[in-house]
């Protein structure tokens, strides 16, 4: 029975929410809102479960003295401190804001800065193992967009920012992006339909 319970719930709820999107009038709208709210609650609970999973992984790392166990210990300590302060002081407390400003914000911005180096290196290395026409075209397009994104110091290339870059960005790139997005949308549509008809079960089970 449990083998069929999950698909039944998934299919029924999915169909109701889908219909509720199109049928805004009537009972289905309320059902859809209710299911969505339940999904939101479950997502929040899943965050709690995920945090527990995170703790178990890093505790195991510490217990087995694996490589990086010290960082796992630091992670667990930070998590506990932040969780305690947040529960006690509240999320809007200045302390929490200071923790965010001091830890999360600079870390993520630093990672983004590293991305700049990574992407430059990737651009340099692209033709090393992918020396075909498409790769050359890709690099050329990237260079054109970069040149048109900002004027050069001390001088400016004429027509680059006014004509060439908008063509590349607003016409070529945008049209290609739209085509890709259409395909992605179709793929997402069929993926969702597979779940709705029970052909695909991402929630586990054979």
């Amino acid at each position: 029975m449990s083998r069929y319970l999950s698909p039944i719930i998934a299919i029924s709820v999915g169909l109701l929410v889908l219909l509720g999107y199109f049928l805004t009038e009537g009972a289905l709208a309320g059902v859809r809102v209710t299911f969505v709210q339940w999904a939101v609650i479950l997502a929040g609970a899943a965050i709690f479960v995920g945090v527990l999973n995170l703790l178990s992984v890093h505790i195991k790392k510490i217990r087995e003295k694996e490589k990086g166990g010290l960082y796992s210990l630091l992670l667990i300590a930070s998590l506990m401190i932040t969780l305690t302060l947040g529960l006690v002081l509240g999320p809007n407390h200045s302390t929490m804001t200071n923790i965010f400003n001091a830890v999360i914000f600079p870390v993520e911005t630093s990672l983004m800065a590293i991305m700049a180096v990574t992407l430059i290196y990737a651009g340099i290395r692209l033709l090393r193992y992918r020396n075909d026409l498409m790769a050359i075209l890709f690099l050329a397009t990237a260079l054109v967009v970069m040149l048109g994104a900002a004027p050069l110091p001390f001088f400016e290339i004429p027509l680059f920012g006014d004509l060439i870059r908008p063509i590349f960005v607003n016409t070529l790139a945008a049209s290609g992006a739209r085509g890709i997005l259409l395909g992605v949308a179709l793929g997402a549509l069929l993926t969702g339909l597979r779940v709705l008809i029970g052909a695909d079960r991402p929630y586990g089970g054979k």
């Binding site: 809102v33 969505v36 709210q37 999904a39 939101v40 997502a43 929040g44 999320p91 809007n92 929490m96 804001t97 965010f100 400003n101 999360i104 914000f105 993520e108 911005t109 990672l111 983004m112 700049a116 180096v117 430059i120 290196y121 651009g123 340099i124 290395r125 692209l126 033709l127 090393r128 193992y129 020396n131 050359i136 690099l139 990237a142 260079l143 970069m146 040149l147 994104a149 900002a150 004027p151 050069l152 110091p153 001390f154 400016e156 920012g161 006014d162 960005v169 607003n170 790139a173 945008a174 992006a177 739209r178 997005l181």
Partner: protein
């Protein structure tokens, strides 16, 4: 239709009436057709009809029939000892001169003749009896099963042949088959004892006793076997390797009182006896075979022969020995009625296996110790000691031959009444070389005569010994001496004063380890390494006294490579060593060397070929041609390559170059950082006025005052560097208009990020929390949450701040639905977030009077979100740092846009240069590699 038959050889079609093929001349039918009416061909599944063995004689080859006919003639005549000796000593050509039908007395193939029903036994009885727990029935006629003779019993395919009623009891181990003993005639009856007798310790009966008692006869009896038994009885000590000969040489009745126990046994037989057993009467201890093997292999320190004197565990009983090896005399009186496992007494050993009882005063002691005479030891053992005591050996040989001849006739007569025709160990023990008459010796084949010769070549001179025991307690042969010795060897060595034992049956030099070639000659190329590698000059042997050659244990037997049945059939070497013994008086061909040494009536090797030579040693190596060798090499290589893992070509991996990364980072830090710090304004502000920015400015300028603007912070902290520069002028413009701010985020970090943004960029406006701006926090559910908030904000957001409903605060006091907001500004770096807000709010915001929708997005999201602006779904769009800088310029402000603009421009230029140069270098390198690859492939 004419019936035809296909030739089995050439396939020619022949008429069925033909016997031979017209084309190839081969028989068209199976050889069984030679039976000619004796029997029909048997088809599969058909039970063969019972036939008499005698009826199948015609199926034998002609040469075999002839030999049997000759055996028949020999059996009927009782020759003297000389003639019997002649059968052994006569050279092969001489034997060939005689009619083939007149086979030599030692025609062991004559067993096919079923004329003699009395002595016929099962062909393989002696083999069958090579088992333990077989009762010794040689002496008991009562044990003979009643029934038709086995020879006349038809042999069917469905049942095994059963022993005949008239047959003698099954042969013991080493016992000659009945057909073999039949050759000896009636006089040979009883000469043969079970092979197990060989393992028993015999009294020191001279080998000649064996001979005299019925060893060699003029007929085709296997007198030489009887000699062995007598020799075993006679010989009690050995100085040389005792000769091993079957009791067929001896016609001594095992039960006759003339049988003397052999005090010594051949080494290979003596080793099988426990070393400590010295009893000559009742007990016949045996040596554990395992120990014997261990001793021979060198695992034990004790010499196998000497160690036998210490063992007292009877493992091989009398039952295990052939009759001709065991003393019939002792067996009849002692072993009769005893259980099957009765150990073999020394007296049971044939004479030739024991020292001479008369000539050797130490016979009894030897018998106790059961040290076989070196003469009776196989040559491969005796030769080891031949070098040390050649004179003694020569004397022993002479004695053996002399005595053997004298005793032969006596043995023949005594054994005639016996039905058993197995060699007797007693006979072998009693056999004495000295007893062998010269005539007999002359008849002996040269190869047998040679075996009796000592290493020095001089035959034994002494013929005074009555019997030459087969095993005498003489010096340990070199072969045996090389074997490790054990401690506690019975020190009763009497071989010092003991006369030389009988001449060994086998030439000393044959088994001499110093002459490996001889060993190889006897055994062909199959000589075990341990046998051929034994050094007669081993120090151990040198240190050993001659008497220590054989163990002083009753019944011990030294090991030998020849099978027992071959050993049993070998005539006494001393009987053949006398050159005058066989001086051509007999026409029978007697083998002088080899496995058939001493056997008469063998097939001659050829006319005028002289002495029968041993067969050529053929190499076991295959003659491989070069092409075959090359093919084999190729095959071997193929097979070897199968086991080897194939070479795996790993996927091409491009290693990372950390130096380049560090270089790029360093350049960026240097250039961008310096530009940021310098604030040189070397790069002009963007002066392109894009419509989306202009529309945004116009919309904000048209907002009602003191309204509430909904700000959605849906970008990650990682994008705050750009997004702050993009959104700051817009928010600043909005705050300058006096709009209250309602902050919302669909990301967990959004609310905190918004607070940070306001602190970092809008601190100049000094907006107060919950008064000028309200942070609603996190909106869960993603698009569903967005839709929920857009539809009914008060339901979607029910949170309280400090115990007060958020909808009570001034920023939301007049807001009930989304339309109540003055403007909705979505700030995001994610395309999906922007799309979600746009798509979810299009319908509610598309209505008339709905607030405008503005977006401040990252440059990476601009291509995807711009169409929304183009389609009118988004009223204004500010994207990227350039948009922010443009907005600032249009507002006449100087903010983060202008601050970052120079660094942004320089950084972009640096990145462009690095990418362009690096790409060109890598492209050229890749092209070069491709050219090289193409060149190699080309």
């Amino acid at each position: 239709m004419v019936e035809t038959i296909n030739c089995p050889v050439c396939g020619e079609v022949n008429p069925i009436e033909l016997v031979d093929c017209n084309k190839c001349g081969r028989l068209l039918r199976q050889t069984t057709s030679e039976l000619d009416g004796v029997g029909e061909l048997i088809n599969s599944g058909q039970i063969p009809t019972e036939k008499k063995t005698s009826e199948l004689e015609m199926a034998l080859p002609a040469w075999l029939r002839g030999a049997r006919e000759g055996d028949k003639d020999d059996e009927t005549t009782k020759t003297s000892d000389d003639s019997s000796l002649d059968s052994l000593s006569s050279p092969p050509p001489q034997a060939k001169e005689s009619a083939p039908t007149k086979a030599a007395p030692l025609d062991w193939l004559a067993g096919l003749d079923n004329d003699d029903d009395e002595d016929e036994e099962e062909a393989a009885d002696w083999l069958v009896n090579i088992q333990d727990n077989l009762p010794i029935e040689i002496e008991s006629e009562e044990e003979v099963p009643v029934g038709i003779p086995a020879s006349e019993e038809p042999i069917t395919a469905t049942e095994a042949p059963r022993p005949s009623d008239e047959e003698e009891p099954p042969l013991q181990t080493g016992e000659l088959p009945g057909w073999l003993s039949d050759l000896q005639g009636e006089s040979a009856d009883g000469n043969f004892e079970a092979m197990s007798d060989l393992l028993s310790q015999k009294s020191s009966a001279a080998p000649k006793d064996v001979i005299d008692e019925g060893g060699f006869e003029g007929d085709d009896n296997l007198d030489w076997l009887s000699k062995l038994s007598k020799e075993a009885d006679a010989i009690s000590s050995y100085e040389e390797t005792p000769s091993v000969h079957p009791d067929s040489l001896s016609t001594t009745d095992p039960d006759s009182p003339d049988f003397k126990e052999a005090d010594s046994l051949p080494d290979w037989m003596g080793d099988l006896r426990p070393a400590g057993e010295v009893s000559t009467n009742e007990t016949s201890p045996s040596i554990p075979i395992d120990e014997f093997s261990a001793q021979l292999s060198g695992e034990s320190d004790a010499s196998p022969i000497s160690s036998l004197a210490e063992e007292s565990r009877p493992l091989i009983t009398r039952d295990d020995l052939p009759d001709w090896l065991s003393s019939e005399k002792e067996a009849s009186s002692e072993d009769k009625g005893q259980p099957e496992q009765t150990p073999i007494a020394a007296s049971d050993l044939p004479d030739w296996m024991t020292e001479s009882a008369e000539e050797l005063p130490a016979e009894e002691s030897v018998g106790e110790s059961l040290t076989p005479s070196s003469d009776d030891l196989p040559d491969w053992i005796a030769s080891n000691s031949s070098e040390d005591n050649p004179a003694e050996r020569a004397d022993q040989v002479d004695d053996f031959l002399t005595e053997d001849a004298l005793e032969m006739e006596a043995l023949t007569q005594e054994q005639a009444s016996q039905k058993e025709s197995v060699p007797s160990l007693d006979m072998a023990v009693d056999a004495d070389e000295n007893k062998i008459s010269s005539a007999i010796k002359a008849e002996l084949p040269d190869w047998i005569s040679e075996m009796g010769q000592p290493a020095t070549g001089s035959p034994p001179e002494s013929t005074d010994e009555v019997s030459i025991p087969a095993f005498t307690e003489v010096e340990e042969p070199d072969l045996v001496a090389s074997l490790p010795t054990v401690e506690g060897i019975d020190e009763e060595k009497e071989t010092e004063d003991a006369p030389a034992p009988g001449t060994p049956l086998v030439e000393d030099n044959v088994f001499s380890s110093s002459t490996d070639e001889n060993v190889d000659e006897i055994f062909g190329n199959e000589t075990p390494d341990w046998l051929s590698s034994l050094d007669p000059t081993d120090e151990d042997l040198a240190e050993e006294e001659p008497d220590d050659i054989v163990p002083k244990v009753d019944g011990n037997l030294s090991g030998g490579e020849l099978p027992g049945w071959v050993q049993a059939m070998r005539p006494v070497g001393t009987a053949l060593s006398d050159p005058s013994a066989g001086s051509g008086e007999s026409d029978n061909v007697t083998a002088e060397s080899g496995p058939l040494a001493g056997l008469s009536g063998i097939l001659p090797s050829g006319l005028d070929l002289g002495q029968i030579n041993k067969p050529m040693a053929h190499s076991l190596k295959l003659n491989v041609s070069e092409s075959q060798q090359s093919s084999a090499t190729i095959l071997e290589g193929l097979l070897a390559s199968e086991s080897k893992p194939g070479s795996f070509k790993p996927q091409t991996k491009y290693s990372s170059i950390p130096v380049v990364r560090w270089l790029i980072a360093a350049l960026l830090f240097l250039i961008v950082g310096s530009s940021l710090l310098s604030q040189s304004h070397m790069t002009p502000s963007p002066n392109i006025v894009v419509p989306e920015i202009r529309d945004t400015i116009e919309i904000i300028n048209q907002l009602p005052e003191a309204g509430s603007a909904l700000l959605v912070f849906d970008y990650e902290a990682a994008f705050s560097g750009e997004m702050h520069a993009v959104a700051a002028p817009l928010i600043d413009h909005l705050m300058l208009r006096g709009e209250k701010l309602v902050i919302l985020s669909t990301l967990p970090t959004g609310p905190a990020l918004a607070e940070h943004f306001l602190v970092e960029t809008q601190s100049s406006h000094n907006y107060q929390r919950n008064d000028e701006y309200l942070n609603l926090g996190y909106l869960p559910g993603g698009p569903s949450g967005i839709l929920s908030f857009i539809t009914s904000p008060r339901i979607a957001i029910t949170g309280k701040v400090d115990g007060t409903s958020v909808w009570d605060f001034p920023p939301l006091a007049s807001v009930a639905t989304l339309s109540d907001f003055s403007v909705v500004i979505v700030m995001t770096a994610d395309v999906e977030k922007g799309r979600a807000w746009v798509e979810q709010s299009t319908i509610p915001l598309g209505e008339t009077g709905s607030p405008p929708l503005l977006m401040a997005v990252s440059a990476q999201a601009e291509p995807i979100l711009y169409p929304y602006y183009a389609s009118g779904q988004v009223d204004g769009l500010v994207s990227g740092l350039s948009g922010g800088a443009t907005y600032e310029r249009l507002q006449g402000q100087s903010g983060l846009g202008r601050k970052y603009w120079d660094s942004y421009s320089v950084g972009l230029l640096l990145a462009e240069i690095l990418i362009a140069v690096g790409a060109m270098v890598n492209l050229l390198a890749a092209l070069k590699v491709r050219q090289a690859r193409n060149k190699d492939e080309g």
